[in-house]
């Protein structure tokens, strides 16, 4: 990520005035909202694909998130950072999607060899085409993905918010509406779990 979530930039890498844009968007200014979306689109997508582990699903949920943000923008009072509010909307939408998907899979379990290993997910489609990913063996990627899938959605989301988005424990606690100690425990547990899975591979 080029800039921290607290200091987003526009397409020309210039800092944007988030408070002004939010205020304008709350008044119905679609262009202002488009600029906010421009600034945070990639971040929200990164969080969501980290959570749902599927490019198509991440795009769908991302769209739902932005529609929800537009319709709920009135409820943002400005007493918190906009990006933590935005991440909260995104993570709760992602968690809701995962729960519904998991329930659907439970009912379709007879059609699947492994419930968490659908053919259209595990490794995001765009991931395989990245040059910097070529050095990682497919086996390591697979183990990493399996380990991530074994984490609860809450643990996975917490880890993604920390490692990918670089949010602090306090920020994650605000986003996920939990205690700071819970954040610390979730990250520690997630690291141990994934580390163990990678060690088992060796």
């Amino acid at each position: 990520m080029a800039a921290p979530a607290s200091n987003p930039v526009n397409r020309d890498d210039e800092p944007i005035d988030v408070a002004r844009l939010v205020h304008a968007a709350q008044g119905g200014d679609e262009q202002a909202f488009g600029e906010l979306m421009q600034a945070y689109h990639a971040r929200i997508y990164a969080v969501l694909i980290g959570m749902v582990r599927n490019a198509d699903d991440a795009r769908d949920v991302s769209q739902q998130v932005w529609i929800k943000v537009w319709s709920k923008l009135d409820t943002f009072k400005g007493d918190a950072n906009f990006y933590t509010w935005l991440y909260r909307v995104a993570t709760f939408a992602g968690l809701d999607f995962i729960r519904r998907r998991d329930r659907r899979r439970e009912t379709e379990i007879s059609d699947a060899l492994e419930p968490d290993r659908n053919a259209d997910d595990i490794v995001p489609t765009s991931l395989t085409s990245r040059p910097d990913h070529a050095a990682l063996s497919a086996e390591v990627q697979d183990v990493f993905e399996q380990a991530l899938q074994t984490l609860s959605p809450e643990h996975r989301t917490t880890l993604i918010l920390r490692e990918v988005e670089g949010l602090s424990y306090d920020e994650i606690a605000t986003v996920m509406k939990c205690r700071r100690g819970t954040v610390m425990s979730r990250i520690f547990y997630a690291r141990k779990r994934i580390q163990q899975a990678l060690e088992d591979l060796r």
Binding site: R11, G28, E30, G34, M37, Q38, H41, A42, Y45, A46, I49, G50, A55, A58, R59, S62, Q63, W66, I67, W70, S71, L73, D74, P124, T125, S126, L127, R130, D132, H133, L136, Q141, F144, L159, I160, R162, E163, V164, S168, Y169, M184, I187, F188, R191, K192, I194, Q195, L198
Partner: protein
Amino acid sequence: MNPEKAARWLSMALDNELPEARRTQLERYLEQHPELVQLRQQWQQLGEHCRRTAPAPDQTPAAAWQDVQRALRQQNAPREAHATILPLRPRWGWLAAAAAVLIMAGVWGWNLRSPSLDLRPIALADRTQVEWVETDLPDAMSMVYEDSTTGLTVIWVMTSDNGEEDEHAG
């Protein structure tokens, strides 16, 4: 410090969430426990791996914004109107529907008991004398009866050629 506690502190230290005093304490512990140094390196690699596996969206923000605008227009949810819809959760929706049915049934039942509003069908035919009469009009039939409400005698003339009906009261 036991290894479990050291690992927890190590995790916090990686995230810059460990207080300075404890960080110093942890560093001293790591000097005596090289296996934790290795763990730190592995967790750092794990973090790099997480960041590498977070691909950029395959859709530009502008394209995504167009999709969102399209979806918003389809939903017909203009924010300017501040239209407030109070969605009922599914279970409350059923309860509300059941309550509405009960209320309607209660009103209907009460009306049946009420002498002022008798909704039972009135057998007008029993109380109306209808008489068919001859007419000079070709292909026409006439019907005469007394309207119980107005007291007037009503004559219906029905012709079969064009389906028209004429009504005369006197």
